[in-house]
Symmetry: C4
Subunit: 447 residues, 4 copies
């Protein structure tokens, strides 16, 4: 019978991983306490020890049949899995699972049992495998990486503090000659001392007296100082990373502000520019649409652009009858532009070279003196399409009503695309000819 | 009767917000103290409690009628306001405003009153809303963000220290067996202990003795270490951000310095380049005008450029009679250039392709051997405009007198713009023809 | 006899350097202890002192004959070596090697011997030369720079702590009036106090009482605080540098995410883009191949490109018979492109302008409705080569099966290269002509 | 009589500034000590006080006649100087110089004298002006900014510690009931306590007992924690800035390394690329010559380029007879290129389009099979100049001997420049014609 390799991302496997994770944490807490309090080696403890061995052996069997990822490719080949497991995780897992007790109890003597029991501390090696499990869970990506990093930091510090406390308890002589402490108090006082030292607070109500204690304290102090430095460094790094986008943006704004001040730009123009940058940050963290799309490979870029603009493009009369490919080319060549409230997008009488598509916001079509609003165009509208056909003067002034995200398409780009679609180009030229004729007629009439 | 939604930025609303803010801080200070000192539940306290409930209920009513911003758009629609308030702030506000006392006092018993009173601690939930108020005030943007950030940090630390002190007081047994402390001293000693611990100083003159105290101290130490790390991280981040522009600039200068040293550039040239970079930093934080303008949307860019250069452009004789649109195009295509003192902007006899506009600083028109200064042109002057018409040799040498911010316009750009203005192009060509004829005549005469 | 300069990178020289390094550390530990414990000046000590002098004098001789690097150039000229050594390292080496004892013992008196002995402390000057040795070892570059930096930091702190401990021992009056300490305990307590102070823990069980002690403690506290700040700053810096690539990438991804959210991109497209960025990071730390190659000087760029693509290029039928130089030009102009699983690389009926080479991954040649897979092309395959000859519609749809690293070559680039190879261009044109004829015939048949 | 404004950078003025600086520091140290030790108000002290007043009044007079800089421009106009001084520095200077004693001693009474004396503390306001003096000294730019920043930090901390110590002394009750301290010890113990607290060590051997002391300690602890955080933040920032160029470079190298590994580039090519990047860093901190020159304004760029290349250009035979302007254009258009040892710069038989100038390093002219070295060209040599005239195949293979900094000039750029110099172009064309004829003749002979 051939059992297939276990997929590492199935629900069952992850549940097992979490079970092992919790068990590992539990024994990390319990085993040192048992050893420090020197509990008698009665049956309960031996059974407890035996169970853990069994579960860890089961874990070895499961792990050695679990497929693994290499550069995002799942390796399911049995032999590769074995080799990979043997090389990486097996020694640690074996150490943690090794039933010292069973082997040593074949030679029963108080000393042997003692050794068997002490060897339990080796089970803590399993802690080294925690990273793997957490890595797998993290990959599900629903969690903030800074949050995970801080949580892990706290977790490891607490584990370290617990282990240090137990070690301190075992060497701490006469922990209060006047009022002997009971068991819990002693652990509590030890833990209290550890935390006080690791956080560099150092009350000094508990301090070493024997040489052994002194050496131990020196080591813990050095570790503690390093650890505390590491925590502060991590926090500083997390804070810096949270702020990285914001602080770069602020730096940019500061430069602009300095420039405006240096050039004595009038106050209202300064405010308008300030508001524009605020809008950019509030609405999109200051990103630049073009550069983001530029980064994507072409098919993804096309998908995004098509999603954003296909609807609006198909409404444009002059694009009626163009084939799919042509529309795609047009969409890929749209340029995002932003207008701030009150900006003149198009001025009557000026010769235009671009047409515009409104993606967000609205614009007013106004009279030349801006006193009458003829119409308001909202998102999904477009204007200026005649500019693509012929270089005629704009026939209306258009002003942005609020912040507008538009896309523009200029005549040069349009003409370049047309070159590749000779059939459609003919159609466009006819349309342009017709439009020119109409315009000339109109002008004659006006005369 | 239908009352309209309250605008969140009116003077009255902000005043109310600040009032609630101060009240919240006040009760945060007072309530824990009352509880720790176990003041008798007399009428005064009950009235105090009742008043706060009433004010917080009023706040709920006001808040639930206040319009709010969503992506810089003010939402005034009643139903949306309600939904938004219910979802976000209502639970907290309710908890803070809930008149536990009134409800529980319907069943009068010492225990019930006690519970009613203890429930007062829930009012501190209101603290969570402080951020909102400060956010609103901050938006008025008159304040330095680093300063606000530090102030908030200090504020929250003091609040935390106060709450920790009160908690410590309530569990601190026998705080000085020899000399019993009076009420103020006790709070003071508590606060002293809290600060000593949070700052990781840990004198050790006050240290835990009972198990409860030990557990409390462990928790506070861990919080304190994290908090202290957070403060240091924040300070480091603020310092780094203050310096970000400067340090990037220094890095750039260091690169230049290394280059100059590597290439054995002579000392005076090295100094000149160093001075140039100093000038760039002192006058404009090293910004690059072109790249700043590039970032702005076209209408804003046009406004800024027009403001900076319209005056000077209109003075140029060859632009007389050009229409508004042409001038705009010219202005948008000016290139900022900087000259350092002593630089030759134009050398007599060389063929020129640019004209220059002086924005700041002044230049000398000098003889070929630079011994005679014919004239000095200040800001608002221009020169070299013939280069736009024909490729004739420069007829004078011009040297920068001090640091000059100029704008240049080269013939290629000028010709490109002309293409779009065929009528004006004809005029320019005539002018060029005339000028050429004149020059040739002059040359003949010289011969 | 003329001995040649010693090469600094030979095995023997490095071994000697390491020996001197270890000896320096040893005397740094031993000499202060001898002085603090005021060991009697017996013969053993004098011999010890004499040996060290001899070894250090030998070191001076060796160093003054060792060639050195200046801007990656080995200077072997004897005189230059001498001058360089005299100017830089000689004074320190002399101080460390000076046999004070021998000179002073010519005037034997207890005082003189005492002075000779105290002067031993000057040997510690040799510590200053440690950096040199470590620098040389580091240059072998097999070690992680952050790791070296941390190790050195710890090393210098331990050295400093040892020296401070010895100094404290020598001024520490009555270090425990009740239970007089033995020699080791005294050093241990001193070291314990030093570490407790430097890590800012400050238990306070050992604190200064005399004025001298107080002054000493003040100095150590100031040094300690600076040192601790330096450690934290270093750790923070190391953490920040480890993460620099990752955090920049995350920032970029965050921008993209914000953009996608702002534009309401549908969920599956969002996931696809997210996966693409994950793939980019996992497979290549988000690097951009073009920009990396752009940085290299042309010959190196050519070598890398040739290595990557020569095999595949030579397989293309239309490149048969092209000369080496032509192939090189083609390879240098390939553009890397990435396709995500499911992307349509080429769509049947669209007019193509690029050919593709598959470097990693595989693509499916599918029917127009994508229901039938005609073939699968793996890495080392190419397709679309006809596009380089004539602008015919694609004759098959090709979809990426998984993440594909491809290279593309477009017709414009190809034509530009052909210009330089007129002979081969003729051949290509013939091939194109032939192909066109074939296609037309086929089309006739189909009709 | 009209005295001219004092120049702020003269030797005398700076000396006076330093004198005032030292005096300010001296009184900052002395005045608090006098007050804390409550020295009797005898004549000596009154004279001391009077002298300082006089000197500070003199300083006011001098400062109010010293020209100042505004945006790198020296303002010498008397009225502007006065206004600027009155607005900025005068209030502080007045406070520091005000002879309280003289005014108050007009109404002699013990109380008045006491007040007059206490008012001395106001002199410390002068400390605020220290920044100005240091700023001026710093501007002389000979000092490392990080070093100045650290020194100032230490200076301010010591001043703060001194002031805190004095304040603590004045409120510290019963500083050692058992062994009363003498005057110096008391200050020493105070200073010791201050440093212990500010560095967050907190031995706890001195701790507050009265309420006043407790409040004082709380304040100092909060200040100390902030200050310590500020120091650490500064150190972290300084370390980060030292490393900024290096860490960016390392990040870049890491990207390249990842790329090379991903693409399985062979080991020796990988090493070659690694060495190239090392060379780039060692020789020029990884800078890119083109981008550095691009940053400079054109006249500076020209000066640097001329300095670097004029000598070599004038040696090229085909440039003989070109005018100054032409040479300048050529030099401005040279492209820096780097060759690594063993690179083939030019391969015999390939058609060349560039000529090369060697700036540093040397190249070998070798036979086609690279077995024979015909010649070695060092810095200041050039080769391949025929490529500028006609597209003939290279007539030798040239290989880089070591790292070579070269400049290249390609035919396209050369032709573009020629367009602007029609007379010289004619000459060049003749030369090309002649050369072609010669080549053809040679080829005939070879046949």
């Amino acid at each position: 019978m051939k059992i297939p390799a276990i997929h590492p991302d199935t629900h069952q496997k992850i549940s097992w991983d979490i079970f092992i994770l919790i068990l590992t944490i539990a024994i990390t807490i319990i085993i040192p306490l048992i050893m420090v309090y020197q509990l008698p080696l009665n049956g309960l403890l031996l059974i407890f020890d035996f169970c853990i061995s069994m579960i860890f052996i089961a874990d070895i069997l499961i792990e050695s049949h679990t497929a693994y990822f290499e550069q995002r490719e799942l390796i399911r080949h049995k032999e590769s899995i074995f080799k990979n497991y043997l090389k990486k995780a097996f020694p640690i897992d074996l150490l943690a699972a090794f039933p010292f007790f069973m082997i040593l109890s074949l030679f029963p003597s108080p000393l042997m049992l003692q050794i068997a029991f002490l060897s339990n501390i080796l089970r803590l090696a399993k802690l080294l495998r925690i990273g793997r499990t957490i890595g797998r869970i993290r990959n599900s990506k629903r969690l903030n990486p800074s949050f995970i990093r801080m949580s892990l930091l706290i977790f490891w510090i607490l584990i370290a503090a617990h282990l240090i406390s137990c070690a301190w308890m075992s060497i701490w002589e006469n922990p209060g000659a006047l009022n002997p402490l009971n068991a819990e108090s002693m652990y509590l006082r030890s833990f209290y001392w550890t935390v006080t030292t690791l956080t560099t607070i150092g009350y000094g109500d508990i301090s070493p007296s024997t040489n052994l204690e002194t050496i131990f304290v020196i080591i813990i102090e050095l570790i503690g100082a390093g650890m505390y430095g590491f925590i502060i460094g991590n926090i500083a790094n997390i804070i810096a990373n949270i702020d990285i986008a914001k602080s770069q943006y602020q730096e940019k704004m500061e430069k602009v502000t300095t420039f405006l001040r240096y050039k004595n730009i009038p106050h209202d123009l300064k405010n308008k520019i300030g508001d524009y940058y605020d809008y950019l940050w509030d609405s999109r963290r200051g990103y630049d649409e073009s550069s983001i799309l530029q980064d994507l490979p072409k098919p993804l870029k096309t998908s995004v652009s098509l999603f954003l603009n296909r609807g609006i493009i198909q409404k444009v009369p002059i694009f009626q009858g163009a084939n799919e490919e042509f529309i795609k080319e047009i969409i890929l060549n749209l340029q995002p532009v932003i207008f701030t409230p009150g900006d003149s997008v198009v001025i009557k009488g000026e010769i235009g070279y671009e047409m515009y598509f409104i993606s967000r916001g609205s614009v007013d079509v106004v009279s030349e003196d801006e006193s009458v609003v003829y119409a308001t165009l909202g998102s999904g509208s477009f204007f200026g399409e005649i500019a693509l056909l012929l270089s005629a003067p704009r026939n209306a002034t258009i002003k942005a009503k609020d912040y507008c995200d538009c896309y523009s398409l200029d005549k040069d780009t349009f003409d370049q695309i047309l070159v590749r679609f000779p059939e459609f180009a003919v159609k466009i030229r006819e349309m342009a000819e017709k439009r020119r004729a109409e315009t000339e007629e109109k002008q004659k009439k006006n005369k």
